[in-house]
Amino acid sequence: MSAAEFWLLFVLLLDATLRVSTPLMLAAMAGLFSERSGVVDISLEGKMLGAAFAAGATAYATGSPWLGLAVAIAVSCFMGGLHAFATVTHRGDQMISGLAANMLAAGLTVTLGIAWFQQGGDTPPLPAEARFSPLNFPELAFLADIPLLGPYLAPVYTELLSGHNLLVYVALAAVPLTAWVLMRTRFGMRLRAVGEAPSAADTAGISVAAMRYQAQLIAGLLCGVAGCYLAIAHSANFVPHMTAGKGFIALAAMIFGKWRPKQAMYACLLFGFFEALAARLQGVEIAYIGQLPSNLITALPYILTVILLAGFIGKATAPAAIGTPYVKGR
């Protein structure tokens, strides 16, 4: 195998990494907004699943990916609002509320899917115009002609940078945007204050409840995009349980990134790389090693997160007020 061929394989692996990391990045940013405001969100999974079903069903019924996206966001925001209603307004346990949301999404999507479409829970496959299709950047033929570097640069441009659907670029933009909103704006500062020291924020005249509701709605928005990506951009229809733990990988990535946007993005890309690698290596014999167990590679994100949480890779500190409902006047 020549060096250029090997490079192409590697670029294709990175390309796959980006595709599988997209929903992770969106959901991890959603988790950041929620958790930085002091509300644990294990329902990233359920929000994405609900959104994916909404997107698949709406895009099929209307033929418009944009309406699919809009309804996906609406469903996911509704679930975020329910989480806030239970945990902020009624001070319910955040874990249990999130768990209930996940179960409701898992049950309802299949129930409604079977009843409406009679295909075992799948939504019908979509034609290309009802999906978000790849955006191809203008061809840059001269790249391949550059001496020496040409064969290396060209695949980076055509395979890795160009040819993704819009939502992939949205996910990539969501990271700096999240970082800017959380770290550089008044809104973000208030949101973090509510997550670290709610009573101090309350004293300063910031409504803890309002901030946490807004955080849940933003989380809903981002999970809505992530779910929509899964159903009508990455695939051509909704399939039952298609999130398959991605919400929890995103949660793990957010923790692995120590509740910081940029680091969380790197963690998502790392975990996405594992997934792409596991898919790539399935059934492939490697010299001296034999077959790598792809099941165990897919478990790597979880194992790494456990090790990180135990403080063996630096220290991950959660927002101080996380998990506790705020009671005014204590």
Partner: protein, 379 residues
């Protein structure tokens, strides 16, 4: 610290009497959850009362229905007790499913590789112990990491669910798969190690019943519930654990090591979940296969919440969830539009109502009860 029990006294609202906490509130929550589920059924264009009737018939009346109901109940008692044990230490063990998987692996590995060479009288108790030890170890690690390294138990146990599933899949596909078998499942355990099923026992005394997976693990589950009650409310260990759950500072003042208690409670919690492996594998499947524990860890959370962490409540709640599970599987046959997935919706709604929104219905009900009882006093 998480308030998993809910705080009942909200400013302005009268305190809820205990009898109402354990009767009115759970029943009201079930009613609301079932009513919401009924709305879903209406949305699907079917009659909710007919669906309910089908579920009840499926759970009790249809041949073998009751056996399946009690079989599911057995699993749910184990995972309900698992979650409740952790709740008593003020910890949330969301990893019951992973612990059940590893418990099942424990019992399966023991029966496949060691048990056959031992006399039955030693083999059976050791197999049960293997399930408990494996499940317990899988919960011990998150407990230990919490106590010694400060890792959050909820997050660690979630991660451990996925790791357990990956380990099971890996072992089944690559190591334990029976020769010539396409689907990932092991060879059968030796015939003599199968737990007696209830229909076999009934046949011995001349009563012929449908063949169901219900086996003597049900009695093990009931014994575990009694043991749970004794351990928590009748031993000094249980007293110490409840002290830690109520107030860590008071516990430290009383000379109790909260970290130690938490780790021990988590290990027992995992051991209880591991018993699902005994019921599902030794009692029913007689081999290890994928998905034998699916959903029981999460359902156990609903059972523990519903049962208010008391063994009696847990057994009753497990029976309710067992009825839902078995009744739900009948829905597939009777309706074109409704499947057993509706049960997941109902379980989710119950968990939402009993767990997350537990404080929503409490104050108005407490006020109503206070009002009624005051009226009674006045007249």
């Amino acid at each position: 610290m998480m308030k998993v029990f809910g705080v009942f006294a909200r400013a302005g609202a009268p305190k809820m009497p205990y009898w109402a906490q354990v009767t009115v509130i759970p029943l009201l929550n079930i009613f609301v959850a079932l009513a919401l589920a009924g709305c879903v059924v209406l949305l699907l264009g079917e009659n909710p009362f007919k669906a309910m009737a089908v579920m009840l018939q499926g759970a009790f009346v249809y041949p073998g229905g009751l056996g399946f109901t009690l079989y599911y109940t057995t699993n749910l008692i184990f995972t309900g007790l698992c979650v409740a044990m952790a709740f008593h230490a003020m910890q949330f063990n969301i990893g019951g499913e992973g612990q059940a998987i590893i418990g099942g692996l424990g019992v399966a590995l023991f029966l496949l590789f060691v048990g056959d060479s031992l006399p039955l009288i030693i083999c059976l108790p050791l197999a049960v112990l293997a399930a408990a030890a494996a499940g317990g170890a899988w919960a011990f690690i998150p407990g230990y990491l919490y106590a010694k390294r400060g890792s959050h138990i909820v997050i660690t146990t979630i991660m451990f669910n996925f790791i357990a599933a990956a380990v099971l899949q890996y072992l089944l596909v690559n190591v334990l798969i029976a020769p010539g078998q396409m689907s990932p499942q092991s060879v059968k355990f030796a015939e003599r190690t199968h737990l007696p099923q209830i229909h076999e026992l009934l046949a011995l005394v001349g009563i012929e019943t449908e063949s169901t997976p219900l086996n003597i693990s049900l009695f093990l589950a009931l014994a575990a519930a009694v043991g749970f009650w004794f351990l928590i409310w009748r031993t000094s260990w249980g007293y110490a654990l409840r002290t830690v759950g109520q107030s860590e500072r008071a516990a430290v003042y009383a000379g109790i090591d909260p970290a130690r208690m938490t780790v021990q409670a988590m290990a027992i919690s995992g051991a209880l979940a591991g018993m699902v492996g005994v019921n599902a594998l030794m009692g029913d499947a007689h081999r290890i296969l994928l998905g034998f524990a699916t959903g029981y860890g999460f359902a156990g959370i609903g059972v523990a919440l519903m049962g208010r962490n008391h063994p009696l409540g847990i057994v009753l709640a497990a029976a309710l969830f067992g009825i839902l599970t078995q009744g739900g599987s009948e829905l597939n046959f009777e309706f074109r539009n409704i499947t057993r997935d509706l049960v997941i919706v109902i379980q989710g709604l119950i968990i939402l109502m009993v767990g997350a929104l537990s404080l929503m219905l409490d104050p108005p009900v407490a006020r109503l009860i206070a009002l009624v009882s005051r009226r009674k006093e006045e007249t």
